[in-house]
Protein backbone atom coordinates (compact mmCIF):
# COMPACT_ATOMS: atom_id res chain seq x y z
CA UNK A 1 0.00 0.00 0.00
CA UNK A 2 2.76 2.40 0.95
CA UNK A 3 6.40 2.40 -0.09
CA UNK A 4 8.91 4.92 1.25
CA UNK A 5 12.36 5.02 -0.35
CA UNK A 6 15.19 7.13 1.01
CA UNK A 7 12.89 9.64 2.65
CA UNK A 8 14.64 12.62 4.23
CA UNK A 9 13.15 15.52 6.07
CA UNK A 10 15.31 18.45 6.93
CA UNK A 11 14.00 21.48 8.80
CA UNK A 12 15.74 24.78 8.54
CA UNK A 13 15.66 26.42 11.93
CA UNK A 14 17.27 29.81 11.94
CA UNK A 15 19.90 28.82 9.37
CA UNK A 16 20.60 25.60 11.20
CA UNK A 17 19.55 22.32 9.63
CA UNK A 18 17.64 19.82 11.71
CA UNK A 19 17.63 16.34 10.26
CA UNK A 20 14.24 15.05 11.41
CA UNK A 21 14.23 12.00 9.13
CA UNK A 22 17.23 10.23 7.61
CA UNK A 23 17.05 7.69 4.79
CA UNK A 24 13.75 6.11 5.73
CA UNK A 25 12.86 3.01 3.72
CA UNK A 26 9.56 1.47 4.66
CA UNK A 27 6.94 -0.77 3.08
CA UNK A 28 3.49 -0.93 4.57
CA UNK A 29 0.93 -3.48 3.45
CA UNK A 30 -2.77 -2.95 3.38
CA UNK A 31 -4.32 -4.11 6.63
CA UNK A 32 -1.12 -3.74 8.66
CA UNK A 33 -1.19 -2.74 12.32
CA UNK A 34 1.99 -0.84 13.06
CA UNK A 35 3.17 1.00 16.14
CA UNK A 36 5.92 3.60 16.05
CA UNK A 37 7.83 4.22 19.27
CA UNK A 38 10.92 6.10 20.24
CA UNK A 39 12.13 8.99 22.32
CA UNK A 40 10.66 12.43 22.00
CA UNK A 41 12.07 14.30 19.05
CA UNK A 42 13.06 11.16 17.18
CA UNK A 43 10.90 12.02 14.18
CA UNK A 44 7.80 9.89 14.78
CA UNK A 45 5.31 12.67 14.14
CA UNK A 46 7.27 13.92 11.17
CA UNK A 47 7.16 10.45 9.62
CA UNK A 48 3.43 10.16 10.26
CA UNK A 49 2.80 13.60 8.74
CA UNK A 50 4.70 12.66 5.61
CA UNK A 51 2.84 9.40 5.28
CA UNK A 52 -0.42 11.31 5.82
CA UNK A 53 0.49 13.88 3.13
CA UNK A 54 0.41 16.76 5.59
CA UNK A 55 4.11 17.35 4.99
CA UNK A 56 6.47 16.82 2.07
CA UNK A 57 9.80 14.99 2.32
CA UNK A 58 12.95 16.93 1.48
CA UNK A 59 14.17 13.96 -0.56
CA UNK A 60 13.09 10.43 -1.42
CA UNK A 61 10.23 8.70 -3.13
CA UNK A 62 6.79 8.02 -1.74
CA UNK A 63 4.40 5.62 -3.44
CA UNK A 64 0.85 5.55 -2.13
CA UNK A 65 -1.23 2.76 -3.63
CA UNK A 66 1.29 2.51 -6.47
CA UNK A 67 1.16 6.22 -7.29
CA UNK A 68 4.12 8.53 -6.86
CA UNK A 69 2.54 10.95 -4.49
CA UNK A 70 5.31 13.54 -4.14
CA UNK A 71 4.62 14.72 -7.68
CA UNK A 72 1.07 15.73 -6.81
CA UNK A 73 0.11 19.34 -6.13
CA UNK A 74 -1.06 20.40 -2.67
CA UNK A 75 -4.68 20.36 -3.74
CA UNK A 76 -4.35 16.92 -5.35
CA UNK A 77 -2.80 15.65 -2.14
CA UNK A 78 -5.73 17.17 -0.27
CA UNK A 79 -8.05 15.06 -2.37
CA UNK A 80 -6.13 11.88 -1.47
CA UNK A 81 -6.42 12.83 2.22
CA UNK A 82 -10.11 13.55 1.81
CA UNK A 83 -10.80 10.15 0.27
CA UNK A 84 -8.24 7.75 1.64
CA UNK A 85 -6.66 8.91 4.91
CA UNK A 86 -8.00 9.43 8.41
CA UNK A 87 -6.17 11.23 11.24
CA UNK A 88 -6.49 10.95 15.00
CA UNK A 89 -4.58 13.47 17.11
CA UNK A 90 -3.40 13.59 20.69
CA UNK A 91 -5.38 16.76 21.32
CA UNK A 92 -8.50 15.56 19.45
CA UNK A 93 -8.75 18.82 17.49
CA UNK A 94 -12.53 18.99 17.50
CA UNK A 95 -14.14 22.23 16.33
CA UNK A 96 -15.45 23.64 19.58
CA UNK A 97 -18.49 25.47 18.20
CA UNK A 98 -19.79 22.33 16.46
CA UNK A 99 -21.62 19.45 18.11
CA UNK A 100 -20.33 15.88 18.14
CA UNK A 101 -22.55 15.04 15.17
CA UNK A 102 -21.42 18.12 13.24
CA UNK A 103 -17.76 17.36 13.90
CA UNK A 104 -18.22 13.85 12.60
CA UNK A 105 -20.10 15.19 9.58
CA UNK A 106 -17.30 17.56 8.51
CA UNK A 107 -15.43 15.20 6.13
CA UNK A 108 -18.69 14.34 4.38
CA UNK A 109 -19.47 18.03 3.94
CA UNK A 110 -16.03 18.59 2.49
CA UNK A 111 -16.55 15.71 0.08
CA UNK A 112 -19.77 17.35 -1.15
CA UNK A 113 -22.12 14.55 -0.10
CA UNK A 114 -25.80 15.61 -0.12
CA UNK A 115 -27.31 16.25 3.35
CA UNK A 116 -29.86 13.42 3.18
CA UNK A 117 -27.14 10.78 2.77
CA UNK A 118 -24.96 12.39 5.42
CA UNK A 119 -27.53 12.20 8.16
CA UNK A 120 -27.79 8.42 7.94
CA UNK A 121 -24.02 7.93 7.93
CA UNK A 122 -23.49 10.27 10.88
CA UNK A 123 -26.18 8.55 12.92
CA UNK A 124 -24.63 5.15 12.24
CA UNK A 125 -21.17 6.35 13.18
CA UNK A 126 -22.36 7.97 16.40
CA UNK A 127 -24.05 4.73 17.35
CA UNK A 128 -21.05 2.59 16.46
CA UNK A 129 -18.86 4.58 18.85
CA UNK A 130 -21.41 4.70 21.67
CA UNK A 131 -22.11 8.41 21.16
CA UNK A 132 -25.79 8.17 20.26
CA UNK A 133 -26.82 10.13 23.35
CA UNK A 134 -24.13 12.74 22.80
CA UNK A 135 -24.91 13.72 19.22
CA UNK A 136 -25.85 17.28 20.09
CA UNK A 137 -23.26 17.90 22.75
CA UNK A 138 -20.38 20.26 22.15
CA UNK A 139 -16.80 19.05 22.74
CA UNK A 140 -16.54 20.90 26.06
CA UNK A 141 -19.50 18.88 27.33
CA UNK A 142 -17.74 15.59 26.55
CA UNK A 143 -15.12 13.61 28.45
CA UNK A 144 -11.67 13.06 26.95
CA UNK A 145 -12.53 9.51 25.92
CA UNK A 146 -15.73 10.66 24.29
CA UNK A 147 -13.91 13.42 22.47
CA UNK A 148 -11.39 10.99 21.07
CA UNK A 149 -14.20 8.70 19.97
CA UNK A 150 -15.79 11.63 18.13
CA UNK A 151 -12.40 12.27 16.50
CA UNK A 152 -12.12 8.62 15.48
CA UNK A 153 -15.66 8.77 14.11
CA UNK A 154 -14.67 11.82 12.10
CA UNK A 155 -11.52 10.08 10.83
CA UNK A 156 -13.32 6.92 9.75
CA UNK A 157 -16.68 8.14 8.42
CA UNK A 158 -15.23 8.36 4.92
CA UNK A 159 -14.06 4.74 5.27
CA UNK A 160 -10.41 5.49 4.58
CA UNK A 161 -7.87 2.80 3.74
CA UNK A 162 -5.32 4.30 6.11
CA UNK A 163 -5.76 5.52 9.68
CA UNK A 164 -2.96 7.51 11.29
CA UNK A 165 -2.99 8.09 15.03
CA UNK A 166 -0.38 10.31 16.71
CA UNK A 167 -0.38 9.49 20.41
CA UNK A 168 -4.15 8.95 20.47
CA UNK A 169 -4.12 7.99 24.15
CA UNK A 170 -1.54 10.55 25.23
CA UNK A 171 -4.19 12.79 26.73
CA UNK A 172 -6.46 10.14 28.18
CA UNK A 173 -6.67 8.26 31.44
CA UNK A 174 -5.95 4.52 31.35
CA UNK A 175 -9.52 3.34 31.05
CA UNK A 176 -10.55 5.62 28.22
CA UNK A 177 -7.17 5.06 26.57
CA UNK A 178 -7.93 1.39 26.56
CA UNK A 179 -11.33 1.94 25.06
CA UNK A 180 -9.83 4.00 22.26
CA UNK A 181 -7.19 1.40 21.51
CA UNK A 182 -9.83 -1.27 21.30
CA UNK A 183 -11.84 0.78 18.86
CA UNK A 184 -8.76 1.30 16.71
CA UNK A 185 -7.96 -2.40 16.77
CA UNK A 186 -11.52 -3.29 15.80
CA UNK A 187 -11.20 -0.98 12.83
CA UNK A 188 -7.94 -2.69 11.87
CA UNK A 189 -9.59 -6.08 12.24
CA UNK A 190 -12.12 -4.93 9.64
CA UNK A 191 -9.31 -4.16 7.20
CA UNK A 192 -8.16 -0.59 7.79
CA UNK A 193 -4.39 -0.05 7.76
CA UNK A 194 -3.46 1.35 11.18
CA UNK A 195 -0.38 3.33 12.21
CA UNK A 196 -0.12 4.38 15.85
CA UNK A 197 2.59 6.60 17.30
CA UNK A 198 2.80 6.02 21.02
CA UNK A 199 4.90 6.49 24.11
CA UNK A 200 3.15 3.72 25.95
CA UNK A 201 5.17 0.47 25.64
CA UNK A 202 2.22 -1.66 26.60
CA UNK A 203 0.16 -0.16 23.82
CA UNK A 204 3.05 -0.39 21.38
CA UNK A 205 3.48 -4.09 22.08
CA UNK A 206 -0.05 -4.82 20.94
CA UNK A 207 0.76 -3.98 17.32
CA UNK A 208 1.66 -6.79 14.96
CA UNK A 209 4.56 -4.77 13.65
CA UNK A 210 6.61 -2.42 15.76
CA UNK A 211 8.97 0.27 14.55
CA UNK A 212 11.47 1.92 16.82
CA UNK A 213 12.90 5.29 15.86
CA UNK A 214 15.94 7.08 17.18
CA UNK A 215 17.27 10.34 15.89
CA UNK A 216 15.32 10.32 12.64
CA UNK A 217 16.05 6.75 11.64
CA UNK A 218 14.19 3.47 12.02
CA UNK A 219 16.45 1.37 14.21
CA UNK A 220 14.19 -1.59 14.87
CA UNK A 221 11.44 -3.22 12.85
CA UNK A 222 9.97 -6.27 14.49
CA UNK A 223 6.98 -8.25 13.39
CA UNK A 224 5.02 -10.73 15.35
CA UNK A 225 3.32 -13.47 13.45
CA UNK A 226 -0.13 -14.05 14.87
Amino acid sequence: MIRLQGIERIFDVGGQQVHALRQIDLDINAGDYISIMGPSGSGKSTLLNIIGLLDRPSAGRYLFEQHDITALSDDEQAQVRRERIGFVFQFFHLVSRLTAAENIELPLILSGMPPSQRRERVAQTLKAYGLGERAHHRPEQLSGGQRQRVAIGRATIIEPGLLLADEPTGNLDRASGHEVVEILEQLNARGITLLVVTHDPELGQRARRRLRMVDGAIVEDTSRST
Partner: protein, 401 residues
Protein backbone atom coordinates in the same frame (compact mmCIF):
# COMPACT_ATOMS: atom_id res chain seq x y z
CA UNK B 1 -18.44 21.28 -0.77
CA UNK B 2 -21.88 22.40 -1.88
CA UNK B 3 -22.86 26.07 -1.61
CA UNK B 4 -25.44 25.62 1.09
CA UNK B 5 -23.01 23.83 3.41
CA UNK B 6 -20.50 26.46 2.55
CA UNK B 7 -22.79 29.30 3.61
CA UNK B 8 -23.90 27.47 6.70
CA UNK B 9 -20.35 26.77 7.79
CA UNK B 10 -19.41 30.43 7.36
CA UNK B 11 -22.55 31.46 9.18
CA UNK B 12 -21.97 29.22 12.20
CA UNK B 13 -18.37 30.41 12.31
CA UNK B 14 -19.62 34.01 12.57
CA UNK B 15 -22.17 33.03 15.18
CA UNK B 16 -19.42 31.33 17.11
CA UNK B 17 -17.76 34.72 17.60
CA UNK B 18 -20.73 36.87 18.47
CA UNK B 19 -18.98 39.92 19.88
CA UNK B 20 -16.52 40.12 17.01
CA UNK B 21 -19.18 39.63 14.37
CA UNK B 22 -21.47 42.09 16.12
CA UNK B 23 -18.84 44.82 16.14
CA UNK B 24 -18.10 44.35 12.46
CA UNK B 25 -21.78 44.42 11.60
CA UNK B 26 -22.09 47.63 13.58
CA UNK B 27 -19.20 49.27 11.74
CA UNK B 28 -20.59 48.29 8.34
CA UNK B 29 -24.11 49.30 9.31
CA UNK B 30 -23.01 52.73 10.50
CA UNK B 31 -21.13 53.30 7.25
CA UNK B 32 -24.03 52.32 5.04
CA UNK B 33 -26.56 54.21 7.16
CA UNK B 34 -24.36 57.31 6.96
CA UNK B 35 -24.25 57.11 3.17
CA UNK B 36 -28.01 56.66 2.99
CA UNK B 37 -28.88 59.48 5.38
CA UNK B 38 -26.36 62.00 4.07
CA UNK B 39 -27.23 61.39 0.44
CA UNK B 40 -30.91 61.62 1.39
CA UNK B 41 -30.25 65.04 2.92
CA UNK B 42 -28.39 66.25 -0.15
CA UNK B 43 -30.95 64.82 -2.52
CA UNK B 44 -33.75 66.36 -0.45
CA UNK B 45 -32.16 69.78 -0.75
CA UNK B 46 -31.65 69.31 -4.48
CA UNK B 47 -35.21 68.22 -5.08
CA UNK B 48 -36.51 71.07 -2.96
CA UNK B 49 -34.66 73.70 -4.97
CA UNK B 50 -35.49 72.12 -8.30
CA UNK B 51 -39.11 71.92 -7.24
CA UNK B 52 -39.14 75.60 -6.29
CA UNK B 53 -37.80 76.59 -9.66
CA UNK B 54 -40.13 74.31 -11.53
CA UNK B 55 -43.09 76.01 -9.88
CA UNK B 56 -42.04 79.16 -11.68
CA UNK B 57 -43.26 77.79 -14.94
CA UNK B 58 -41.69 75.93 -17.75
CA UNK B 59 -39.71 77.31 -20.67
CA UNK B 60 -39.32 80.60 -18.88
CA UNK B 61 -36.82 83.35 -19.61
CA UNK B 62 -36.29 86.24 -17.23
CA UNK B 63 -35.07 89.49 -18.76
CA UNK B 64 -33.49 92.00 -16.40
CA UNK B 65 -31.76 95.26 -17.07
CA UNK B 66 -27.99 95.38 -16.92
CA UNK B 67 -25.29 93.16 -18.27
CA UNK B 68 -24.15 90.22 -16.28
CA UNK B 69 -21.11 88.27 -17.47
CA UNK B 70 -22.01 85.06 -15.73
CA UNK B 71 -25.36 83.67 -16.64
CA UNK B 72 -27.68 82.42 -14.01
CA UNK B 73 -26.24 84.54 -11.25
CA UNK B 74 -27.55 87.33 -9.11
CA UNK B 75 -28.66 90.64 -10.67
CA UNK B 76 -25.60 92.33 -12.09
CA UNK B 77 -23.33 94.97 -10.70
CA UNK B 78 -22.72 97.11 -13.71
CA UNK B 79 -20.10 99.66 -14.47
CA UNK B 80 -22.15 101.65 -16.95
CA UNK B 81 -25.69 102.56 -16.07
CA UNK B 82 -27.79 100.26 -18.20
CA UNK B 83 -30.74 101.41 -20.15
CA UNK B 84 -34.08 100.73 -18.52
CA UNK B 85 -36.43 98.10 -19.79
CA UNK B 86 -39.63 99.65 -21.02
CA UNK B 87 -43.08 98.57 -21.96
CA UNK B 88 -42.14 99.18 -25.59
CA UNK B 89 -39.23 96.77 -25.20
CA UNK B 90 -41.65 94.17 -23.91
CA UNK B 91 -44.02 94.71 -26.80
CA UNK B 92 -41.16 94.40 -29.28
CA UNK B 93 -40.24 90.98 -27.87
CA UNK B 94 -43.60 89.50 -28.90
CA UNK B 95 -42.69 89.43 -32.56
CA UNK B 96 -41.11 85.98 -32.76
CA UNK B 97 -42.52 82.50 -33.17
CA UNK B 98 -40.16 81.46 -30.37
CA UNK B 99 -42.02 83.65 -27.95
CA UNK B 100 -45.43 82.64 -26.73
CA UNK B 101 -46.06 85.07 -23.93
CA UNK B 102 -44.42 88.24 -22.73
CA UNK B 103 -45.21 89.46 -19.23
CA UNK B 104 -43.70 92.78 -18.16
CA UNK B 105 -43.67 93.35 -14.43
CA UNK B 106 -43.06 96.10 -11.98
CA UNK B 107 -42.62 95.71 -8.29
CA UNK B 108 -42.87 98.14 -5.43
CA UNK B 109 -44.42 98.44 -2.06
CA UNK B 110 -47.26 100.61 -0.89
CA UNK B 111 -49.94 100.86 1.75
CA UNK B 112 -53.16 99.03 0.90
CA UNK B 113 -56.25 100.03 2.80
CA UNK B 114 -59.93 99.24 2.95
CA UNK B 115 -62.44 100.53 5.42
CA UNK B 116 -60.10 101.62 8.18
CA UNK B 117 -57.73 98.67 7.82
CA UNK B 118 -54.34 99.24 6.29
CA UNK B 119 -51.49 96.93 5.32
CA UNK B 120 -48.11 97.59 3.79
CA UNK B 121 -47.94 95.19 0.83
CA UNK B 122 -45.83 94.30 -2.15
CA UNK B 123 -47.51 95.65 -5.26
CA UNK B 124 -46.88 93.91 -8.55
CA UNK B 125 -47.64 95.71 -11.76
CA UNK B 126 -48.45 93.18 -14.45
CA UNK B 127 -50.54 92.34 -17.47
CA UNK B 128 -52.97 89.46 -17.90
CA UNK B 129 -50.14 87.36 -19.40
CA UNK B 130 -48.57 86.91 -15.97
CA UNK B 131 -51.55 84.75 -15.05
CA UNK B 132 -50.45 82.02 -17.40
CA UNK B 133 -46.71 82.54 -17.03
CA UNK B 134 -46.78 82.16 -13.26
CA UNK B 135 -49.54 79.53 -13.22
CA UNK B 136 -51.85 81.49 -10.98
CA UNK B 137 -55.28 80.19 -10.13
CA UNK B 138 -58.18 82.24 -8.92
CA UNK B 139 -60.04 81.64 -5.69
CA UNK B 140 -62.69 84.19 -6.56
CA UNK B 141 -63.48 86.55 -9.41
CA UNK B 142 -61.18 86.98 -12.36
CA UNK B 143 -57.66 88.14 -13.16
CA UNK B 144 -56.55 91.38 -14.82
CA UNK B 145 -58.39 91.54 -18.15
CA UNK B 146 -56.57 91.67 -21.48
CA UNK B 147 -56.95 94.94 -23.32
CA UNK B 148 -55.24 98.23 -23.80
CA UNK B 149 -52.12 98.05 -21.69
CA UNK B 150 -51.59 101.77 -21.91
CA UNK B 151 -55.02 102.77 -20.65
CA UNK B 152 -55.80 100.29 -17.96
CA UNK B 153 -58.81 100.12 -15.72
CA UNK B 154 -58.13 100.75 -12.04
CA UNK B 155 -58.59 97.17 -10.92
CA UNK B 156 -56.63 94.95 -8.52
CA UNK B 157 -56.24 91.27 -7.75
CA UNK B 158 -55.34 90.34 -4.17
CA UNK B 159 -53.28 87.51 -2.76
CA UNK B 160 -55.18 85.22 -0.42
CA UNK B 161 -53.48 86.37 2.75
CA UNK B 162 -53.70 90.06 1.95
CA UNK B 163 -57.38 89.65 1.20
CA UNK B 164 -57.89 87.90 4.55
CA UNK B 165 -56.07 90.60 6.43
CA UNK B 166 -58.08 93.38 4.85
CA UNK B 167 -61.50 91.79 4.49
CA UNK B 168 -61.52 88.87 6.89
CA UNK B 169 -64.24 86.48 5.79
CA UNK B 170 -66.19 89.19 3.96
CA UNK B 171 -66.30 89.18 0.18
CA UNK B 172 -63.76 91.46 -1.40
CA UNK B 173 -65.10 91.31 -4.95
CA UNK B 174 -66.25 94.71 -6.24
CA UNK B 175 -64.93 96.54 -3.19
CA UNK B 176 -62.91 99.67 -3.67
CA UNK B 177 -59.54 99.69 -1.98
CA UNK B 178 -56.86 102.31 -1.76
CA UNK B 179 -53.32 101.57 -2.84
CA UNK B 180 -50.97 104.46 -2.11
CA UNK B 181 -52.96 107.50 -3.17
CA UNK B 182 -55.09 105.77 -5.80
CA UNK B 183 -58.27 103.81 -5.78
CA UNK B 184 -58.71 100.35 -7.28
CA UNK B 185 -61.62 97.97 -7.56
CA UNK B 186 -60.98 94.40 -6.42
CA UNK B 187 -61.89 92.03 -9.25
CA UNK B 188 -60.36 88.82 -8.02
CA UNK B 189 -58.60 86.92 -5.24
CA UNK B 190 -55.75 84.49 -5.92
CA UNK B 191 -55.78 80.93 -4.74
CA UNK B 192 -53.43 80.30 -1.83
CA UNK B 193 -50.09 79.41 -3.38
CA UNK B 194 -47.33 80.03 -0.89
CA UNK B 195 -43.73 80.92 -1.35
CA UNK B 196 -42.27 80.78 -4.83
CA UNK B 197 -38.76 82.00 -5.47
CA UNK B 198 -38.65 84.40 -2.57
CA UNK B 199 -41.94 86.07 -3.44
CA UNK B 200 -45.01 85.21 -1.50
CA UNK B 201 -47.90 85.59 -3.91
CA UNK B 202 -50.35 85.27 -1.04
CA UNK B 203 -49.27 88.70 0.22
CA UNK B 204 -49.32 90.44 -3.17
CA UNK B 205 -51.62 92.96 -4.71
CA UNK B 206 -51.52 92.83 -8.50
CA UNK B 207 -52.50 95.87 -10.53
CA UNK B 208 -52.07 96.77 -14.23
CA UNK B 209 -48.47 97.53 -15.09
CA UNK B 210 -49.19 101.12 -16.26
CA UNK B 211 -51.06 101.80 -13.06
CA UNK B 212 -48.02 100.59 -11.12
CA UNK B 213 -45.71 102.79 -13.17
CA UNK B 214 -47.70 105.88 -12.40
CA UNK B 215 -48.19 104.82 -8.77
CA UNK B 216 -44.43 104.47 -8.28
CA UNK B 217 -43.72 107.24 -10.71
CA UNK B 218 -41.32 105.28 -12.94
CA UNK B 219 -41.14 104.55 -16.65
CA UNK B 220 -39.17 101.38 -16.43
CA UNK B 221 -39.89 97.73 -15.78
CA UNK B 222 -38.47 95.55 -13.07
CA UNK B 223 -38.39 92.39 -15.21
CA UNK B 224 -39.82 91.01 -18.38
CA UNK B 225 -40.84 87.37 -18.18
CA UNK B 226 -40.85 85.61 -21.53
CA UNK B 227 -42.31 82.20 -22.08
CA UNK B 228 -41.13 80.12 -25.02
CA UNK B 229 -43.61 77.74 -26.63
CA UNK B 230 -41.37 74.71 -26.21
CA UNK B 231 -38.13 73.56 -24.75
CA UNK B 232 -36.42 73.71 -28.12
CA UNK B 233 -37.50 77.33 -28.49
CA UNK B 234 -35.75 78.50 -25.33
CA UNK B 235 -32.41 79.05 -27.02
CA UNK B 236 -33.72 80.82 -30.12
CA UNK B 237 -36.01 82.86 -27.89
CA UNK B 238 -33.04 83.92 -25.80
CA UNK B 239 -31.13 84.95 -28.95
CA UNK B 240 -34.21 86.79 -30.23
CA UNK B 241 -34.63 88.67 -26.95
CA UNK B 242 -30.99 89.75 -26.82
CA UNK B 243 -30.89 90.73 -30.49
CA UNK B 244 -34.14 92.67 -30.31
CA UNK B 245 -33.19 94.59 -27.19
CA UNK B 246 -29.68 95.24 -28.48
CA UNK B 247 -31.17 96.78 -31.61
CA UNK B 248 -33.54 98.86 -29.53
CA UNK B 249 -30.80 99.97 -27.13
CA UNK B 250 -28.53 101.50 -29.78
CA UNK B 251 -26.54 98.34 -30.39
CA UNK B 252 -25.59 97.91 -26.79
CA UNK B 253 -26.13 94.55 -25.13
CA UNK B 254 -27.25 95.80 -21.75
CA UNK B 255 -29.70 93.18 -20.57
CA UNK B 256 -29.32 89.86 -18.89
CA UNK B 257 -31.46 86.91 -19.86
CA UNK B 258 -31.70 84.13 -17.35
CA UNK B 259 -33.31 80.97 -18.53
CA UNK B 260 -35.04 78.95 -15.94
CA UNK B 261 -33.30 75.91 -17.31
CA UNK B 262 -29.84 77.35 -16.82
CA UNK B 263 -30.61 78.33 -13.25
CA UNK B 264 -32.10 74.96 -12.61
CA UNK B 265 -29.19 73.17 -14.20
CA UNK B 266 -26.73 75.15 -12.11
CA UNK B 267 -28.48 74.39 -8.86
CA UNK B 268 -28.97 70.83 -9.95
CA UNK B 269 -25.25 70.52 -10.61
CA UNK B 270 -24.14 72.20 -7.42
CA UNK B 271 -26.48 70.26 -5.18
CA UNK B 272 -25.85 67.01 -7.04
CA UNK B 273 -22.12 67.47 -6.51
CA UNK B 274 -22.77 68.28 -2.86
CA UNK B 275 -24.74 65.08 -2.45
CA UNK B 276 -21.99 63.08 -4.11
CA UNK B 277 -19.43 64.68 -1.85
CA UNK B 278 -21.18 63.97 1.41
CA UNK B 279 -22.01 60.47 0.23
CA UNK B 280 -18.37 60.01 -0.68
CA UNK B 281 -17.24 61.22 2.73
CA UNK B 282 -19.68 58.80 4.31
CA UNK B 283 -18.33 56.04 2.07
CA UNK B 284 -14.94 56.55 3.68
CA UNK B 285 -16.45 55.16 6.84
CA UNK B 286 -17.24 52.06 4.81
CA UNK B 287 -13.60 51.70 3.93
CA UNK B 288 -12.77 52.13 7.61
CA UNK B 289 -15.25 49.36 8.30
CA UNK B 290 -13.44 47.30 5.68
CA UNK B 291 -10.12 47.78 7.43
CA UNK B 292 -11.81 46.76 10.66
CA UNK B 293 -13.14 43.64 8.98
CA UNK B 294 -9.66 42.82 7.82
CA UNK B 295 -8.20 43.14 11.29
CA UNK B 296 -10.93 41.14 12.88
CA UNK B 297 -10.65 38.45 10.22
CA UNK B 298 -6.91 38.30 10.80
CA UNK B 299 -7.56 37.76 14.48
CA UNK B 300 -10.11 35.11 13.57
CA UNK B 301 -7.58 33.32 11.37
CA UNK B 302 -5.04 33.41 14.20
CA UNK B 303 -7.57 32.12 16.70
CA UNK B 304 -8.84 29.43 14.38
CA UNK B 305 -5.43 28.18 13.25
CA UNK B 306 -6.07 24.73 14.64
CA UNK B 307 -9.45 24.55 12.96
CA UNK B 308 -7.89 25.52 9.65
CA UNK B 309 -5.16 22.93 10.11
CA UNK B 310 -7.82 20.37 10.86
CA UNK B 311 -9.85 21.25 7.76
CA UNK B 312 -6.68 20.82 5.72
CA UNK B 313 -5.94 17.48 7.35
CA UNK B 314 -9.47 16.42 6.49
CA UNK B 315 -8.66 17.21 2.89
CA UNK B 316 -10.05 20.71 2.33
CA UNK B 317 -8.06 22.16 -0.57
CA UNK B 318 -6.80 25.73 -0.47
CA UNK B 319 -9.57 27.25 -2.62
CA UNK B 320 -12.19 25.89 -0.22
CA UNK B 321 -10.50 27.46 2.81
CA UNK B 322 -10.09 30.71 0.89
CA UNK B 323 -13.74 30.74 -0.05
CA UNK B 324 -14.88 29.93 3.47
CA UNK B 325 -13.15 32.98 4.90
CA UNK B 326 -14.16 35.22 2.01
CA UNK B 327 -17.73 34.08 2.50
CA UNK B 328 -17.52 35.09 6.15
CA UNK B 329 -16.32 38.55 5.16
CA UNK B 330 -18.98 38.85 2.46
CA UNK B 331 -21.72 37.72 4.82
CA UNK B 332 -20.65 40.28 7.39
CA UNK B 333 -20.58 43.04 4.79
CA UNK B 334 -23.94 42.15 3.30
CA UNK B 335 -25.62 41.72 6.65
CA UNK B 336 -24.08 44.96 7.88
CA UNK B 337 -25.18 46.70 4.70
CA UNK B 338 -28.72 45.36 5.09
CA UNK B 339 -28.90 46.60 8.68
CA UNK B 340 -27.40 49.93 7.64
CA UNK B 341 -29.93 50.29 4.83
CA UNK B 342 -32.80 49.60 7.18
CA UNK B 343 -31.51 52.08 9.76
CA UNK B 344 -30.73 54.66 7.07
CA UNK B 345 -34.13 54.39 5.44
CA UNK B 346 -35.87 54.55 8.82
CA UNK B 347 -33.91 57.68 9.75
CA UNK B 348 -34.75 59.21 6.38
CA UNK B 349 -38.42 58.47 6.92
CA UNK B 350 -38.17 60.09 10.35
CA UNK B 351 -36.56 63.18 8.82
CA UNK B 352 -39.39 63.39 6.31
CA UNK B 353 -41.85 63.32 9.19
CA UNK B 354 -40.00 66.06 11.02
CA UNK B 355 -39.52 68.28 7.96
CA UNK B 356 -42.37 67.54 5.58
CA UNK B 357 -41.42 70.45 3.30
CA UNK B 358 -38.14 68.81 2.29
CA UNK B 359 -38.40 65.70 0.11
CA UNK B 360 -35.64 63.64 1.78
CA UNK B 361 -34.96 60.41 -0.06
CA UNK B 362 -31.71 58.58 -0.67
CA UNK B 363 -31.20 58.34 -4.44
CA UNK B 364 -31.02 54.78 -5.73
CA UNK B 365 -27.47 55.28 -7.00
CA UNK B 366 -26.37 56.04 -3.43
CA UNK B 367 -28.08 52.94 -2.08
CA UNK B 368 -26.62 50.69 -4.75
CA UNK B 369 -23.19 52.26 -4.36
CA UNK B 370 -23.29 51.90 -0.56
CA UNK B 371 -24.12 48.20 -0.77
CA UNK B 372 -21.53 47.58 -3.48
CA UNK B 373 -18.83 49.50 -1.61
CA UNK B 374 -19.69 47.59 1.57
CA UNK B 375 -19.49 44.25 -0.21
CA UNK B 376 -16.40 45.36 -2.14
CA UNK B 377 -14.44 46.51 0.89
CA UNK B 378 -15.53 43.42 2.80
CA UNK B 379 -14.20 41.19 0.05
CA UNK B 380 -11.06 43.21 -0.70
CA UNK B 381 -10.11 43.40 2.95
CA UNK B 382 -11.21 39.80 3.43
CA UNK B 383 -8.75 38.53 0.82
CA UNK B 384 -5.61 38.99 2.90
CA UNK B 385 -6.87 37.07 5.96
CA UNK B 386 -8.45 34.39 3.76
CA UNK B 387 -5.20 33.88 1.87
CA UNK B 388 -3.30 33.69 5.09
CA UNK B 389 -5.70 31.00 6.24
CA UNK B 390 -5.46 29.07 2.97
CA UNK B 391 -1.68 29.11 3.08
CA UNK B 392 -1.29 27.86 6.63
CA UNK B 393 0.93 24.84 6.95
CA UNK B 394 -1.31 22.13 8.44
CA UNK B 395 1.45 20.51 10.49
CA UNK B 396 2.36 23.74 12.22
CA UNK B 397 -1.27 24.76 12.56
CA UNK B 398 -2.10 21.49 14.31
CA UNK B 399 0.99 21.64 16.50
CA UNK B 400 -0.74 24.50 18.33
CA UNK B 401 -3.22 23.55 20.94
Amino acid sequence: MNPRDHLQFAFTALRGARLRSGLMLLAMAIGVAAVVVLSALGEGARRYVVGEFSSLGTHLLIVLPGRNETTGGAPPLTSETPRDLTLEDAEALKRSRHVRLVAPINVGSAAVSWGGREREAVIMGATHEIYEVRHFTMAQGRFLPPGDVRHPQPVAVLGAKLKRELFGTQSALGERIRIGDRRFRVIGVLQEQGQSLGMNTDELAIIPVMAAQSLFNVNSLFRILVEAPSRESIEPAQRHVIATLKARHDGEEDVTVITQESVLATFDRILGALTMTVAGIAAISLVVAGVLIMNVMLVAVAQRTVEIGLLKALGAPRPVILRLFLTEAALLSLLGAAIGLAVGQASTALLRQLYPALPFAAPSWAIIAAVLVALGTGLVFGVLPARRAARLDPVQALARR
